[in-house]
Symmetry: C2
Subunit: 200 residues, 2 copies
């Protein structure tokens, strides 16, 4: 057998990633398997290994696409808002993505590279680019603060918003009478920034 040649390498990679995204969207990262992806695109499992080093590689590439989508949403959300509003918009856009593309977003953090191996550099760069978006607007908000202070504040805020998403999605940690996630995020931003700017 062999030689179907219906798709180029790039096409195979594309439909593979798309199938993976659909599987994850439907059943979460745990519902993803190389065999299921192969079945869904009408190839044998072995074929996937022509285009992806292994399943971890496939997931890493899928996650990079998620990062791209997330970045686009964040960048669109800021628009030309003034700093404080821009930061709030960034947070709300992040929340929105986590809430409405839950499985895709969770896969970003659930997937851990095997023991020794690290994540590709392109992945790290996309994360850095996203972080700088936050940092930029914090800097605009507090022009007199040192770059170190701004970096620290951006990191604290970003981590905080991330934690709000995580704990909200994890039904395990949903305490009774929990507030809507947006409200918690707003509280975090408002109070942190009040403290941060107040000591400007």
């Amino acid at each position: 057998m062999g030689r179907r040649n219906e798709h180029t390498r790039d096409e195979l990679r594309e439909i593979g990633l798309r199938a993976a995204e659909e599987l994850v969207a439907a059943h979460g990262l745990a519902g993803l398997s190389a065999r299921k992806v192969a079945a869904r695109i009408g190839y044998t499992v072995g074929s996937l290994y022509m285009v992806f080093r292994n399943l971890d590689d496939l997931i890493a590439q899928m996650n990079e696409r998620t990062l791209d989508a997330l970045y686009a949403r964040l960048a669109a959300a800021v628009g030309d808002r003034p700093p404080a509003a821009a930061i709030q918009a960034l947070a709300q856009a992040y929340l929105h993505f986590a809430l409405f593309e839950t499985h895709r977003w969770l896969a970003l953090y659930q997937h851990r590279m095997p023991e020794g191996r690290s994540v590709p550099q392109s992945f790290t760069e996309k994360v850095a680019r996203m972080f700088e978006l936050v940092q930029h607007h914090v800097a605009l908000l507090c022009p007199r603060r040192s770059p170190e202070d701004v970096a620290l504040a951006a990191r604290a805020l970003w981590s905080g918003i991330h934690g709000v998403c995580m704990l909200s999605l994890d039904r395990k940690l949903e305490t009774v009478g929990g507030r809507p996630i947006q409200e918690v995020a707003t509280s975090l931003l408002d109070n942190y920034l009040a403290g941060f700017v107040g000591r400007d």
Copy 2:
């Protein structure tokens, strides 16, 4: 074969959980399997299903033990400190646990119950108990605030600290020149509380 009777049901459960904890500590949740646990305690896989409903049940029980350990550390950390110091101590104790018992702590959040099933009530209660520890000290710090405000603040802070841990452990998100995790956490608490108390 059969009938070894070297261990009671409770003992079997205990050595099973202990073996699971050792495997997770060494290789993370991904390195855990029912067959490995069985091998490690010198029983066949089937025997595990006498004591645990399935692997998810085993992991859930293991995670409950982790929650107990974490709660003990947090409670010990507060001691009889005044509110503000108590909150800082809680955060630092949480960070410490995440940093030094990383795999055990990560397992708490990496493990997701299968599609329909939810986490046992005892688990939820242990989480609630931990959350109330934070809430209690925030209430002491701001006696004039409404219970709703206090709950919101506690939730924002707890989520924030959690996010700091998560993103710090995830080497993926380590941005270059990242500050030490404790510093980020302190910034989060100090500035949030400055904002929160300032509007008291």
